[in-house]
Symmetry: C3
Subunit: 155 residues, 3 copies
């Protein structure tokens, strides 16, 4: 039985698959009190393939970067689904950390990261409005174009 | 009516303006329980212009980087003022995250970040002493020289 | 009197020294409620010397990077020991943030970061399994190869 949020996502054609296994010795999320800390999610698509590989400012266009960021957000939701069983238990998206694999002269990282932020607001409405930090990093695991981590207040 | 902390800042010639609007689809802060999470602040000055643009180790001097970091801290305080109405409600500066736009060979990022840390201690005294992580990043939004995010325990 | 966790570490030949003083104007940790936030730890060894200097993908091998990451984790534990007196008070390693000093084409940052993650699981067992974000950064303080920060639930 999918909750309200998941139905909204389904209407948009977004289904939450089984989250990718962590690429190393850690777990996808940890809950402490009412806070759910979700590990940095790479832009793996439904088929387990990275949606965008390489650097913004290099081989990856802004549009493809935005799609990658959106997919990272979908993957955060998939982790929450595993953690809580129901996305409706999210009381607030507290913070997203956005890591953009970028060349040193690429200045549009916020625009890329909006792919993730927009999805959170689409999914959760006002509860989806979050604090955010976006930085351009030298490189990401497997040369993924985008990685996003999340902090959520949950019930 | 300004509280004690704000008066101290005023004595130093620091006034807290209206915070810059987030440069994208997110909010300046989120409170969850007694924690206030403030989004990464760029070094926008009072006139809405970045105090320092470019990379440490490149066009930006250490001294200008320190001023930029200090301004990021001022902008964090301006967000707190909006969030809480009174800076005296800060019980502890828990953590600052410092992101320095740096060339790969610039080794003085902690010295730059002290511009932000020193201001917190000036404003809050012992309550301003915080945990901190400083990294040199490939690039920041709008090529800002410094970005600082903050986590605060509040009443 | 060392607790269970510290005895396990001693059996592995790991002793927790006095943590390195912060390299700038901040503190090693801040506790807020049941959360302990520990500052980013560089890979200082027992003699106060960085275990690995330079970039992964450059002068530093993956194996040396892993040892450096492990040392960062040891240094996190040393901070916790100062904060709590007894590592047995750690209820959960909530999150590690891994910052790898890397060239823009170095894709094995998760493998490097496992040096830190593995130590946490060794020390704390299931309580040591954590959420994690790993990124490759342009540069770190003093050109350290690895920096790791931590968030812990404590009693």
């Amino acid at each position: 039985m999918a909750g309200t949020v998941e139905k909204k996502l389904a209407d948009l054609g977004i289904t939450l698959g089984t989250p990718a296994a962590p690429v190393a010795n850690y777990v996808g999320f940890v809950r402490t009190g009412n806070l759910l800390v979700v590990s940095g999610q790479l832009c793996f698509g439904a088929e387990g393939k990275l949606l965008a590989v390489g650097k913004l400012g290099g081989a990856v266009s802004i549009e493809d970067g935005q799609k990658a960021a959106r997919q990272c957000a979908v993957n955060l939701l998939a982790q929450i689904k595993v953690a809580l069983g129901d996305l409706d238990k999210v009381q607030r998206v507290v913070r997203l950390g956005g890591f953009i694999n970028a060349t040193p002269d690429f200045l549009e990282t916020p625009k890329v990261m909006n792919g993730a932020s927009d999805l959170m607001v689409t999914a959760f409405g006002d509860k989806g409005r979050h604090a955010r930090t976006t930085i351009g990093v030298a490189v990401l695991p497997m040369d993924a174009a985008v990685e996003v981590e999340g902090l959520f207040e949950v019930s």
